[in-house]
Symmetry: D2
């Protein structure tokens, strides 16, 4: 949209003269931290058809990306908030990470990601990742209100081919409101990003102690997303579950994203 | 989206403790300029069901808004590109301005505008409006590439209650791609913003000579929207059609947006 | 600097083809709030030769400026922190407001202001002024760390020609370190901005209740100015002293700035 | 400045609890390109006491720095414009690169660099470095006006310990205007950054074909620095002299900067 000028180029639609390079593009510095919370609190934020899968641990990941082919070599940052869940539909069944919200600092990627693959993306100002006295620090805000801080400290080298729990991939809810019928939906469907990402290559991984803090906001601080930040800020941190810092190269364009029913 | 945290507040959904004030919010400085172009060139960029209505004049409008109630008093800027068109559907028929593309510098407004009312919004960096030696100047770019310049000069006071041509309102195409079926649509519908806006009050209006320039871009300059900018840059400027600078207060929230069939 | 390309244009040096207009340029929205603090705390932050003059009240002012002639119609914002002081030099004596620190969001103005007239200017990200439920709100930060919040509430119309206390003007310390002799100064002099500003015209003034909050910072939050912010954050707020919101037009270029000895 | 709150921390003044690490901090991606120009054109922009040294080649360098210790791990970018020159003073004589102008995108570094070591720093918006189809691309602008583009193409690996021409270091002019005596100087001195930088370690170097373009600006495009950009844009490009892309780590804090007389 606008479509009457022809299709927009982007990660899943390539211009004639440009060359995608999924083995080299993009380069990503990922900083992640997890914490154990209360299962019943998390369940309140799961859409219909979903149940928690395993222990109620929330993971927050900052992905600082550069060398992105579809941006002609530019970069941007995304933040993922996930927890483990199972979806049981009328036909499909999948277990993986439920992608509760995504923040990004590039509107172009937010627009195509929401529309084409149903990622629940919002905008945030995200500071560059920085390391101070061995601690990796990430922060995000909106118009001067900092709502998220994540740190990973006591870093030590870890296995690059770390095997996570078996997963069908990332699960999320694509939702499109109906124009003129406020509160109704034109579209409400579960979509899946399959776990496989053969072109992604981890170059370095470190593990350590992770901490995550969401800061409670008033409506005036964050007029369009205080409810999201406050829901996350209200989750009790029962126990920190560690953090990682990962350098990787390559990755898929999510053309394998599909709808579950 | 994300919806599982509850509905997002915005122009059409108000938090419990905030008060909308459509007679005072928002305050808008609008700068507009028009030019006559070639009818056949414009027709190439009209969706199915639309035809040109009257002379093929393109209007570009910068709306610099402050004091926006749903943003807790903050502001942002939007740019509209329109030309006159008639839509004939299977049931409905309407004539007004076809809203070909919108650029805004606030992602939150882009997201809700695209999803809720089908405005074809993209992101741009937009400089503050400025006046130099009596000329009102507006510019827009993306990551350092300036793609649009608009100026209105030789300004003189004009009637505030200027009557435009009879119009049913603004017409546009809401389009949502289908996940997993690349190139197909989940939704493709014409929406209308009715012309009536009773709470909007024009405080001052000036008219003058307008000029508009779109700058041709390579894919690498504007990887996600070079095709939009280049389509507009390729329109021949046959004749300038004047410009205006308007100060207004108040305005509707587009809850009257509706689908035409 | 660089000077070998010729003199830089700016507020006090005009290009051949541009016209300064001190009666119309600039337009300023000023938001100010004061508080009574402890005299001995303030005295610690007065340079040699200065003493407090009258009650120890700190005033913080946000000046949101637009339509600036020397910026070809653009704008920027400055923040002033002052308290009343008297300077007694070997020859000169003056009483007015001691300008303890200035923050601005335009580097070009910071550079020329520091070098040409000795304003103690630092950089801050400053949000647009906004009004919510009748409260005027201003904030400033640096790289996502908000260090200053100012609000003026319960606003009512006030006399535009409000007479302040008799003043010789604004006093400040121009200081230039010596290259190669770390800790020594090449220049350390008191400068005065005389109070008179005949081209400045107040269009509207409102008065109300003001609050000011400086937020304590670590070195890592504000690596180059934590000491300034923390000094101000440590001042006790003994009593709020009111706030104002003022719209004005015009003003001088500070060419009357002079050195006191 | 302000100094009455105590000394400001920065590259040459360290807070008690922080640790400088000149072997690891900072990490720099440098992109440089040179061109041969007309000697007489360059000589017009040399201050008194300077003469061209060797062939009249202008070099433009973008230094994208991250992991900066004195910024608590943050980064910024600087752009250097130099050409070879010899300074003959009443006592001192030195040959090296004359640093004609510096642009940076961090005001804090601009302020301390100008005042403490006399670097002729101005502000620019600088895009992140990016590589597209093997070409390294750098651009800079101000408020949406792009004034500088630099590219290095046909890159191939080069010797990391490349020996440049014998040099005493970088030479520049520190200039401070006199308050109240417009057009006069309080300080005008030549400063030298000695060439030695033992903690800097080049990790990777590539060489290729370089191109540099400065875009001519009106006063209204760049009100405070059109004269600098236009002087550089007016230099004829007689022959491209190659470009490099260099990754390095570590580097000095310029505490060895000294005044030449």
């Amino acid at each position: 949209m606008p479509t009457h000028f022809g299709p927009a180029d982007g990660p899943r639609q390539w211009p004639g003269d440009a060359v995608a390079d999924p083995k080299r593009s993009k380069r990503t510095l990922s900083v992640a931290a997890s914490f154990l919370t209360d299962a019943s609190a998390l369940e309140q934020h799961l859409p219909e058809g979903f149940t928690l899968a395993g222990e109620p641990a929330v993971t927050v990941e900052f992905h600082h990306m550069t060398d992105i082919d579809w941006l002609a070599g530019r970069g941007y940052t995304m933040i993922w908030v996930t927890w483990p869940a199972t979806f049981k539909g009328s036909r499909d069944r999948a277990t993986g990470k439920f992608l509760a919200v995504v923040w990004e600092n590039l509107t172009d990627a937010i627009i195509t990601g929401r529309d084409e693959i149903g990622h629940p993306k919002l905008y945030a100002d995200i500071e560059e990742a920085r390391r101070l006295d061995g601690v990796q620090i990430c922060t995000a805000g909106w118009r001067g209100f900092r709502f998220l801080e994540l740190e990973v400290s006591q870093l030590h080298d870890a296995e690059t081919n770390q095997q996570g729990p078996a997963s069908d991939g990332n699960l999320m809810l694509k939702y499109k409101p109906r124009t003129g019928a406020w509160g109704e939906a034109d579209l409400c469907q579960v979509t899946l990003t399959p776990a496989s990402d053969p072109d992604r290559h981890v170059e370095q991984r470190q593990a350590g102690v992770g901490t995550v803090r969401f800061h409670k906001a008033t409506w005036a601080d964050l007029p369009t997303m205080h409810h999201v930040v406050n829901a996350l800020a209200a989750l009790p941190v029962i126990e920190a579950r560690g953090g990682t810092v990962t350098l990787s190269r390559g990755g898929k364009s999510y053309r394998d994203q599909r709808v579950l029913v």
